[in-house]
């Protein structure tokens, strides 16, 4: 080492360099005005936190509090708890989203080849995200403050405690998210399947988040009457932080919990610090390229009978292609998580719609809405994936005598096969919840199954018009939004036609509610698919 650099080596903190670089990466869109970006953003957020939000909440919260004096305190407590639970998940998922940036994968090799230590990379990447996560705190903490203010006049100390808890929660979620994403990145370097697991994890977390939101909305009374139910979630970190805030509002709010204030404070301080310390010390486990070429995923011969059945069902012309599509689809864990998401959300709708409709008319209406929602969710969650990672493969299809049709039709058939399982599951749930007979169940199954590929026509058509080759492509977002807009009339049609025609018989009710939806979707979907395939055939 040359002497002139030796002093630099001792002085320079590489975690700081990594942290600065992390900030640069996250603010690359403002790379010419980074300082101004931060000054401007923080000024606005401070203005929101300390002037706009208090004024806004003070304008209506005291009235709501006065009107609902009896239940206001426990409701606010529950809202703060659930709000912080969801916030924890959202912040935790953010670092996971960056895991899949394939182009940055190779940079790890350059980093590890430099004198920087693994723990410096870890600490730097974690700290570098904090200025941006502070935005989240300054956006959301004033909402918590706004809800509490009508109950008690907050002192400066209480303000500090609330903001400290919000910072603690957000930074801890970021720490856990960074750890999981680093571990996944480490796994990704070893095997591509880890990337898939990561995506599945995000889907699962999303499902958990949706369940939490639904649980708060639909079970608020049960939770309020039985607060001890939340003891099952004592391990969930956001509760440690929210308990501290709740104690400030009213110590009695923690009475039914296992975690008292001292346990909550202890966990909220000790666990994050302990995890941070251990991760710093053990960072070399995550930031290493050891074992990089060891793992390849080999396929087993499992499910040979299943595929042979699909081959026979799809026929000689499409059998092989459908099997390829199905293997590609089912070997991605993220896609399995997506199917679970479809089953979960439509299954919940099945419970919700059947529990709110008590007469036969209502039941037919609820099953019609369920069919439409099932198609919509399947189409958005699964139909839009047709061209994911096919940027190069598309040319193989185009060059072959089957052309693009081979790809599109085989994917559609693949969706039909998957639709059979989705339809079967939802039919069972719907039959159980709504207590319908066998004939009604068979009719429901047939209509549900028929509507899935029909609704897929428009999502696949949209993808043909404007293909998205990656899940994060901007085309994916725009196509999904267009898809949702197109489906809006389909959701409204059953209710509208039911009111307009007021049919008397069951058969007429089904026809009036579903025939226009089917015709509408077949027409729109076929036109989109036809134009889309024409356009896709000209892709260069």
């Amino acid at each position: 080492m040359e002497p002139e650099y030796e002093s630099q080596v001792n002085k320079r903190k590489l975690w700081l360099t990594i942290a600065k670089n992390e900030i640069k990466l996250r603010t690359s869109s403002f790379r010419n005005n980074r300082k101004r970006f931060f000054i401007f953003s923080y000024l606005i957020l401070i203005l929101w936190a300390f002037i706009i939000a208090p004024l806004l909440f003070d304008s209506f919260m005291p009235t709501i509090a006065a009107q609902n004096a009896g239940i206001f305190k426990p409701v606010v407590a529950l809202l703060i708890e659930s709000f912080m639970m969801i916030l924890f998940l959202i912040i935790l998922m953010l670092p996971l989203n960056n895991v899949y940036n394939k182009d940055e994968k190779g940079v790890k090799e350059s980093l590890v080849a430099s004198p920087v230590l693994a723990r410096d990379i870890f600490l730097g990447e974690f700290l570098g995200k904090l200025p941006l996560y502070t935005f989240a705190v300054l956006i959301f903490a004033p909402i918590v403050v706004g809800m509490i203010n009508p109950i008690i006049d907050l002192t400066v100390i209480q303000y500090i405690i609330i903001y400290t808890c919000a910072f603690g929660l957000v930074y801890f979620a970021n720490l856990i998210g960074s750890l999981i994403s680093s571990w996944l990145e480490h796994k990704i370097l070893k095997s591509e399947s880890a990337r898939d697991w990561g995506k599945a994890l995000i889907m699962i977390l999303t499902i958990v988040m949706v369940i939490m939101m639904y649980a708060v909305i639909f079970f608020i009374n049960e939770i309020l009457m039985n607060p001890e139910l939340k003891n099952w979630l004592s391990f969930y970190p956001s509760l440690w932080f929210s308990n501290i805030i709740l104690y400030g509002i009213d110590p009695l709010l923690l009475n039914s919990y296992i975690l008292n204030i001292w346990f909550s404070i202890g966990l909220a301080i000790c666990i994050p610090l302990m995890i941070l310390y251990l991760s710093y010390k053990k960072a070399h486990v995550f930031y290493s390229l050891e074992g990089i070429s060891t793992k390849s995923t080999s396929v087993t011969k499992q499910g040979r009978n299943f595929y042979s059945m699909i081959n026979k069902l799809a026929g000689r012309k499409f059998g092989g292609l459908v099997i390829v599509q199905m293997k590609l689809f089912l070997r991605k864990k993220a896609n399995l998580a997506r199917i679970a998401y479809v089953l979960g959300s439509v299954g919940f709708m099945a419970w919700f719609t059947s529990s709110t409709m008590d007469d036969y008319k209502g039941l037919i209406l609820s099953s019609s809405i369920l069919i439409v929602l099932g198609g919509l969710v399947s189409s958005i969650m699964l139909g839009h994936l047709i061209f994911i990672n096919t940027k190069d493969i598309i040319w193989v299809y185009k060059k072959s005598p089957r052309g693009i049709k081979g790809l599109v039709y085989s994917y559609l058939l693949n969706m039909l096969v998957i639709g059979i399982f989705i339809s079967l599951f939802i039919t069972i749930l719907h039959s159980l919840f709504a207590k319908i007979g066998l004939l009604d169940a068979v009719i429901f199954f047939s209509l549900f199954l028929a509507y899935i590929p029909i609704s897929m026509l428009q999502s696949i058509g949209l993808q043909c018009l404007n293909p998205a080759f990656g899940e994060k492509d901007s085309n994916m977002k725009s196509n999904s939004i267009i898809s949702m807009l197109i489906m809006q009339p389909a959701i409204m049609m059953p209710i509208f036609f039911l009111i307009f025609f007021n049919p008397e018989t069951v058969l007429m009710m089904r026809i009036v509610m579903l025939a226009p939806v089917f015709i509408f979707n077949i027409l729109v979907g076929t036109i989109l698919l036809y134009i889309g395939m024409k356009k896709l055939n000209k892709i260069e």
């Binding site: 790379r31 940036n101 090799e109 080849a113 920087v116 070429s293 060891t294």
Partner: protein
């Protein structure tokens, strides 16, 4: 004991049941260019990663400028420059920002970083687009940025994994000339992994051919050609590796479905294949 820039003794690395590098012994003198040749999966990248301290060996020793890599890892990293096989870059940084970042990782003083970055950008013809985000760069341009990053701290030993594979002929020529200059004028030691035999023959003083983790043969290009009784380095490489006979390569045409002629309907659709004699 004679001093070497790079010396390995019985270097071994396995990944699970796969033996990637098997008892590799290298002695590379100062100021020489060494080329490690071999097919995909031969163990070249694993070797270069071990020499850089990116991954550790299962057994054996590595001495860089006579210092054991295990006890002098930071020093070894300071004096080594590394061009990875796939250009690893932060897509959301500009070339200038990325190079400054790499310079800081090597503890270079700010003033040195700024001047080195500008020199390298100029040398590789990247000055005009130095403030563009790397996500907009072509593969060749990214390769150039990686080369700049490998050279930023003016390393004593430079490891290059496929240095010219993504470059256009003019830049590839420039890189080859640069490698020669670095050896002749700056007395750098250069370790190259490549598939390109012409690059190895032109640049390397010494060549090693590796397959399945085992070093098959080593010597100067001329020695290797002579020892294998080959006409040129390509011929020598093929002799060392062994190749399939041409008749084996096309044997599939003799039998099977492909001897059937495609018959189409009037609309151009495939109707059937008729068997024909080839």
């Amino acid at each position: 004991m004679e001093s070497y820039a790079i010396r390995t003794h019985e270097l071994t690395k396995s990944f699970g049941s796969i033996l990637a590098v098997n008892k590799l012994n290298l002695k590379i003198p100062y100021g020489k260019t060494y080329g490690l040749l071999g097919p995909n999966g031969a163990g070249k990248t694993t070797t270069i990663r071990m020499l850089n301290g990116i991954i550790s060996s299962n057994s054996g020793e590595i001495y860089i400028t006579d210092k054991d890599i295990k006890s002098h890892e930071k020093y070894v990293k300071m004096i080594s420059g590394f061009l990875p096989e796939s250009p690893g870059l932060y897509q959301k940084l500009s070339a200038r920002e990325f190079l400054i970042f790499i310079g800081e990782l090597y503890y270079l003083p700010k003033s040195v970083i700024i001047s080195r970055v500008e020199e390298l950008l100029e040398l590789f013809g990247l000055s005009e687009r130095a403030n563009d985000l790397l996500e907009g760069y072509s593969r060749g341009m990214k390769q150039k940025v990686c080369l700049c990053a490998a050279l930023i701290q003016d390393p004593q030993i430079i490891y290059l994994d496929e240095p010219t594979s993504n470059l256009d002929p003019a830049i590839a020529r420039m890189v080859k000339d640069l490698i020669k200059e670095l050896v002749v004028r700056a007395d750098k030691t250069i370790f190259i992994c490549t598939h390109q035999l012409d690059v190895a023959q032109e640049l390397c003083d010494q060549i090693g051919i590796i397959n399945n983790g085992i070093l098959k043969i080593e010597g100067s290009p001329t020695e290797i050609i002579e020892n294998t009784g080959a006409k040129n380095l390509e011929d020598a490489y093929l002799k060392v590796m062994g190749v399939s006979k041409m008749e084996d390569l096309l044997s599939w045409r003799e039998n099977g479905e492909f001897n059937k002629k495609v018959v189409t309907s009037g609309k151009g659709k495939v109707k059937k294949r008729k068997r024909v004699v080839v």
